[in-house]
């Protein structure tokens, strides 16, 4: 993956592809509706034909019954106009009715695919991308595309066809005048081309800025408490005002572009109409044209006003759809790098002994030069509990995230019972590994659903056991028990409660491998002791890798590994390391430290 730092999943390369290429690539979504779309086009054309026929009927009325004083003929033609008009309306109704379901269907399908793709992309991508940029893709960008596919595209075809049909009719009515009208297409084309080019850039800029604003909003929502704690509302508002102002300026520029072009799209047909009027009147005076024909000609030509006028809007819409499609394809084009290898195998839980080995594992985050982990060699024997100790920010959490393959090793390999993790099916691997992160993530769902995230088939007893182990039985006392919604949109729980639920989730279903990142950090001493005791029973026969900061938690481990500077510098039992490795003592010991300033550490 190329390194991107702007938070925008951009994959722009320097050779400019065709501006509409990415829009065209969305056609598979149109395919299920292709026959329908064909029919709709036919219906739309028929409706247009019906509406085109009305001026011709008017011509007949003026030239025929009115001239001949034929009342019956007048009624007959009036009835014809009525039938044509009703037919038009019915055709439009059918078109719109069917079209609405296909357009929202397409939109929903693309959205679901983007979401599915995003779920497959590794955590690294998500760290880099601003979530607001992703959000604006599945909302605003998609609705732009929906509007284009449902209306813009159809009207583009329809308007061009209408234009051609009217011009043909006009040429048949009066060749010279008809050709004059046809010639007006040339300036229209030139205006459109220029406009499209300018608008393309503006609309892309606008969409990116919309994503930026969405990011700002999401970030504010996340950091609301921090904002409040420091009373930084005015600063955040000023920052937001900056983003909103940029969006405003782009919007004004876009409006100006559109205004100029839309007015031109008005002027050109009007001038043509003026010329037709003069020439037509002259022709009628000369007897080359009947008055009825002139009326029909002019009213047919007036039918061109709306198609041409709406051209500005359609082109704008089309350009927006094209840039929106670019943005969407940028996401879809990002390949999920952590996927099942061909021939990846399943490992059965029962057949797993649980020997985890890191073999010269190196890792660095994409885009950064310094490796976080450098040739790490480490073995966790089956059933053993290994604690990983190291200073803040030394890469412990990163090391853990390599086990369920949330990140991929840059060099070296990790094996489970001798199998390279990359040769295992992702789903199989992740089923074997139970993880609890340093920040317990709870989703806005019921407690039950949060616990059984990875194991929807878990039974009542299993859940109860997991809750008991994590000392999280408080969940039963919540207002609706395990059906209570927790997480962001539900009941807010304390840090310790969240951590205990996350731990219960990790141990649920007895995974073959437990990977726990500082699992007891937010617990009070009393609860910690209880959880520890329970955890000890589980850890007796489970291979486990723990990150710990506290001497008390280290006691859970059979062996300890000290991580420093991206390398494992010492492995051994707690007391061994304490006795022989000064760096270890420094990291873990709570003993008094040398005082630089003479100030007492403890003031009681």
């Amino acid at each position: 993956m190329p390194a991107q730092s702007d938070g925008n999943p951009a994959a722009r390369d320097d050779r400019r592809p065709h501006p509409l290429r990415n829009l065209w690539r969305l056609r598979p979504y149109l395919r299920p509706y292709a026959p329908e779309f064909g029919w709709l086009l036919v219906l739309a054309l028929a409706a247009t034909a019906a509406s085109l026929a009305v001026p011709l009927v008017v011509q007949r009325v003026v030239d025929g019954p009115v001239a001949r004083h034929d009342v019956a003929g007048l009624l007959r033609l009036g009835a014809l106009a009525l039938v044509l008009g009703l037919a038009e309306a019915v055709l439009i109704f059918i078109r719109r009715w069917t079209q609405s379901s296909s357009s929202v269907g397409m939109e929903a399908a693309i959205r679901a695919d983007i979401y599915a793709h995003l779920q497959r992309l590794p955590a690294g991508c998500h760290d880099r991308w601003q979530s607001g940029q992703l959000l604006s893709r599945i909302t605003s960008d998609l609705s732009v595309i929906r509007r284009f596919l449902s209306f813009g595209l159809l009207f583009l075809v329809l308007n061009v066809v209408t234009y051609l049909a009217v011009v043909v009719l006009l040429i048949r009515l009066h060749p010279a005048l008809g050709l004059l009208v046809a010639a007006s297409a040339v300036p229209l084309f030139l205006i459109s081309r220029r406009f499209a080019r300018h608008y393309h850039a503006a609309s892309r800029r606008m969409q990116d800025q919309q994503g930026d604003v969405a990011t700002l909003v999401e970030e504010t929502a996340q950091g609301l408490r921090t904002m409040r704690a420091y009373g930084r509302g005015p600063e955040l508002a000023a920052r937001f005002a900056g983003g909103a102002r940029t969006l405003h300026d782009t919007g004004v520029r876009k409006a100006r572009l559109l205004a100029r072009t839309a007015a031109l799209f008005d002027l050109v047909p009007n001038l043509t109409l003026g010329m037709v009027l003069v020439a037509g009147t002259a022709a009628a005076a000369g007897g080359a044209l009947t008055i009825g024909e002139l009326v029909a000609f002019v009213s047919l030509q007036l039918m061109l006003v709306w198609p041409v006028q709406s051209l500005g809007w359609i082109i704008a819409n089309g350009q927006e759809a094209a840039t929106a499609a670019d943005r969407i394809q940028e996401v879809l084009d990002t390949p999920p790098t952590i996927v099942d290898a061909p021939g990846a195998r399943l490992l059965d839980r029962a057949g797993v002994r649980g020997r985890l080995r890191f073999e010269r594992v190196s890792f660095r985050y994409p885009g950064s030069q310094a490796p976080v982990l450098d040739e790490v060699d480490l073995t966790v024997e089956p059933g053993e509990t290994l604690a990983l100790v190291g200073a803040t920010g030394c890469g412990k959490s990163t090391l853990l995230s390599l086990v369920p393959r949330l990140h991929e090793v840059t060099r070296g390999r990790i094996t489970l019972d001798g199998h390279d993790l990359r040769d295992l099916r992702l789903s199989s691997l992740r089923r074997l590994v139970g993880v609890a992160f340093e920040e317990p993530t709870l989703f806005s769902m019921s407690v039950w659903e949060n616990l059984t995230l990875g194991r929807p088939d878990a039974g009542e007893q299993e859940v109860r056991a997991a809750l008991a182990l994590a000392q999280a039985e408080f969940a039963y006392d919540l207002p609706w028990g395990l059906a209570t919604r927790v997480g962001e949109q539900g009941l807010s729980l304390s840090g310790g409660q969240r951590q205990r639920l996350a731990l219960a989730r990790a141990v649920l279903g007895r995974p073959a491998l437990l990977v726990l990142d500082d699992p007891l950090s937010a617990l009070d001493v009393h609860t910690e002791a209880l959880v520890e005791a329970a955890l000890r029973r589980v850890l007796r026969d489970t291979t486990a890798l723990l990150v710990v900061h506290r001497p008390s938690t280290v006691a859970l481990a059979d062996r300890v590994a000290l991580l420093d500077g991206g390398r494992i510098v010492a492995v051994g039992t707690h007391s061994e390391l304490l006795a022989t490795v000064p760096a270890y003592r420094a990291v873990l010991s709570a003993g008094p430290v040398q005082r630089h300033d003479g100030a007492g550490l403890v003031r009681s």
């Binding site: 009927v57 019954p65 009115v66 009342v71 007048l74 008009g85 309306a89 719109r96 599915a116 995003l118 779920q119 998500h126 601003q130 992703l134 909302t139 909003v217 929502a221 609301l224 921090t226 009373g231 004004v252 876009k254 409006a255 559109l258 205004a259 839309a262 007015a263 009007n270 001038l271 109409l273 003069v278 002019v298 009213s299 950064s368 100790v389 200073a391 803040t392 412990k396 369920p404 949330l406 992740r430 019921s446 407690v447 609706w480 919604r485 949109q489 539900g490 840090g495 937010a522 001493v525 009393h526 900061h549 008390s552 420094a586 709570a590 430290v593 100030a599 007492g600 550490l601 009681s604």
Partner: protein, 633 residues
């Protein structure tokens, strides 16, 4: 939703349940707050709907008021454009009726006049349209900017309890999706809307002037148009309101599940998430579909009325021409005008889509703006007494609970003299964090008062309160921007030296110096690259820089390793010396720096005294202390 008890008004809504009846209700669990899914103003009762509509209309008025003059100019331009556009068919009529005969007689003058008039009209139309579009674009964007800032600012003012109820995803949805749909109207619809409305009116006038009896026949169409439009407006308002709600759920799920992507992937949650997403996505699809179907009825409905009128006018007008009561040219012009009459109506029905969607969105935003912050700024703020040695905190008879039926604190009495460091300990749910939040005025007590230097927190201006009291939690949110900017969040005016001094004091300087760009390193999305401990250090440096009278630390050191924690504690030892501090920690090592320990249980203070004294006394603290001592190496 405007649903009558018998459900008669509700659009039938088949719930698609993919994969064996996935019920959205069940997996989401039961919310403890009945208002969990909306702002309070968005009640389902008809009165509430009407009130909200009135509110959103008033909001629109407020937004447009500053632009009155420009709006006036825009309307003038529009009238000019419309007059010019309308003169077209009239000039055609003049040409046919009055220029052909003279031309036959060899007099080109009437034709030249008509042509000149036509050219003038076209040019006027061009200029007026361009001016109008530019101007309305400006007004529209200005209104959007104003609205965006208003809503954002209001969200910032609303209290923490509101946000906990309303949630991040929904706030994001309001400020993105809802504003987008208003922007869509501003971008593509507003001129069409006004032009259409105006040309309908002016055409009606011209028709009346051209031929009264024919116009009378035409006007018969009006009641039908009115009736159809009223039906549509009512039905679609409900439908679009539903789309706004549905899209908010899509956004909520999207934002939340991607934020927790690590947990999602580690627990193979993808499939289930996809099902849930499919369900909310499908719900949104259904809601949009209902709304679009309404237009699918409305738009051809207008067409039927229009075409019916044309046919009637054709027959009746033809008869009148036959009877010699009107001119052929008049009939021709009449029919041309009729086209100009119904086509904008048609166009209007296209844009009614964006119009209704924007209306529904505006109502949602009005609902947010209607929320009153439960923790409001005082109208007449009281200033804090100044001078050294300030920061005395008192809780007087404070009762509080997040839910009325579950009180957390009852009649709490607590006095903390200025400069004292107090440690709060106790089991989960004892009320430690609640005390911290009340002191930081995230909430107001139900009864009683929290005071700082004798001043009720409710009487303090927010800026003053925040300068005096800072709460550091384990959340440690880092905003996008550089490390330095994040530290400077504590005191925006601070220079680089002060930022670095704060980082040094807290022991964060060393790791910051090793970052690729040092203090200028961008903390990517929510500090993705910094470890939890490093984020805590940055948050500490921020609090240090803020230099408040009262510092509240709620589990602020939980993710630090022992040496770093020691470093932080040493720094705390010196910074807390001359200020009041409330420290909540599970680590007794943190508690050791306190002058006084409070043991809380069930919202009550059960032990109170200096740590050494309590440790010796043999109570709960003593037990915990022993346990902790034993756990050390």
């Amino acid at each position: 939703m405007t649903e009558a008890p018998d459900g008669s008004r509700r659009v039938p809504r088949p719930r698609v349940a993919p994969d064996g009846g996935l019920d959205l209700k069940r997996w989401r669990g039961r919310a403890t707050d009945p208002d969990a899914d909306r702002s309070r103003a968005e009640d389902a009762t008809p009165e509430a709907v009407a009130r909200l509509r009135a509110r959103s209309r008033a909001l629109l008025g407020q937004l447009l008021r500053p632009h009155r003059r420009r709006l006036g100019l825009a309307v003038t331009l529009l009238l000019a454009q419309n007059a010019a556009a309308m003169s077209g068919p009239y000039l055609v009529m003049l040409g046919i009726d009055h220029a052909i005969a003279p031309l036959r007689a060899g007099d080109p003058e009437p034709l030249v006049t008509v042509a000149a008039a036509f050219a003038t009209a076209s040019l006027t139309e061009y200029l007026a349209r361009r001016g109008f579009l530019t101007l309305t674009g400006r007004i529209g964007q200005a209104v959007l900017l104003d609205l965006r800032q208003r809503v954002y600012g209001h969200f910032l003012r609303l209290d923490v309890a509101f946000h906990e109820r309303y949630t991040c995803g929904r706030m994001v949805s309001r400020l993105t999706s809802d504003l987008d749909s208003i922007a869509e109207l501003v971008d593509g619809g507003i001129d069409n809307l006004v032009v259409a409305a105006l040309s309908v009116l002016s055409v009606a006038g011209i028709l009346l002037w051209l031929d009264l009896p024919l116009a009378a026949v035409t006007l018969l169409a009006f009641p039908f148009l009115f009736w159809l439009s009223r039906w549509f407006a009512r039905a679609s308002a409900g439908a679009y309101r539903r789309t706004r709600e549905a899209v908010a759920l899509v956004i909520v799920h999207f934002v939340e599940s991607l934020r927790g992507i690590r947990a999602v992937q580690a627990y193979r949650r993808e499939e289930r998430n996809q099902q849930i997403f499919a369900a909310v996505n499908d719900d949104y699809r259904e809601a949009s579909l209902q709304a679009f179907r309404l237009i699918a009825v409305y738009s051809p409905g207008i067409k039927v009325i229009g075409n019916l009128t044309v046919a009637v006018v054709l027959a009746y007008g033809g008869a009148r021409v036959l009877g010699g009561r009107t001119e052929v040219g008049v009939l021709a012009a009449f029919l041309l005008y009729l086209r100009r009459f119904f086509e904008p109506m048609q166009e209007l029905s296209q844009f009614s889509n964006s119009l209704q969607s924007a209306t529904a969105a505006l109502e949602k935003l009005a609902g947010v703006l209607d929320e009153r912050p439960a923790v409001a700024e005082p109208e007449r703020p009281v200033a804090l007494p100044t001078g050294p040695g300030r920061g005395a905190v008192a809780f007087r008879g404070v009762s509080f609970g997040y839910r009325p039926d579950a009180p957390i604190l009852t009649e709490l009495e607590l006095t903390v003299p200025a400069g004292q460091t107090v440690a709060l300990i106790g089991p989960t749910g004892a009320g430690k964090s609640t005390i911290a939040k009340l002191l930081a005025r995230f909430h107001d007590p139900a009864t009683g008062a929290v005071t700082l230097d004798g001043v009720d927190l409710r009487d303090l201006a927010d800026a003053e309160l925040r300068r005096a009291v800072v709460l550091v939690t384990q959340e440690n949110h880092l905003f996008s921007g550089s490390v330095a900017e994040n530290i400077r969040f504590g005191r925006p005016g601070a220079d680089d030296a002060a930022v670095e001094a704060a980082a040094r004091a807290i022991g964060a300087h060393d790791f910051i110096a090793t970052l690729p760009d040092g203090y200028a390193t961008e903390v990517h999305r929510r500090g993705g690259r910094l470890s939890a401990g490093q984020r805590q250090l940055v948050a500490f440096a921020r609090a240090f820089l803020a230099d408040p009278r009262v510092l509240i630390l709620d589990e602020a050191t939980s993710s630090l390793d022992v040496p770093t924690e020691r470093l932080v504690q040493r720094a705390l030892g010196s910074i807390l010396r001359d200020r009041t501090a409330l420290v909540i920690a599970h680590r007794l090592s943190t508690v050791e720096i306190a002058d006084r320990v409070l043991v809380l249980d069930g919202g009550r203070i059960v032990e109170d005294g200096p740590p050494a004294q309590l440790a010796a006394a043999g109570g709960r603290y003593a037990a915990l202390h022993r346990q902790w001592r034993d756990s050390l190496i």
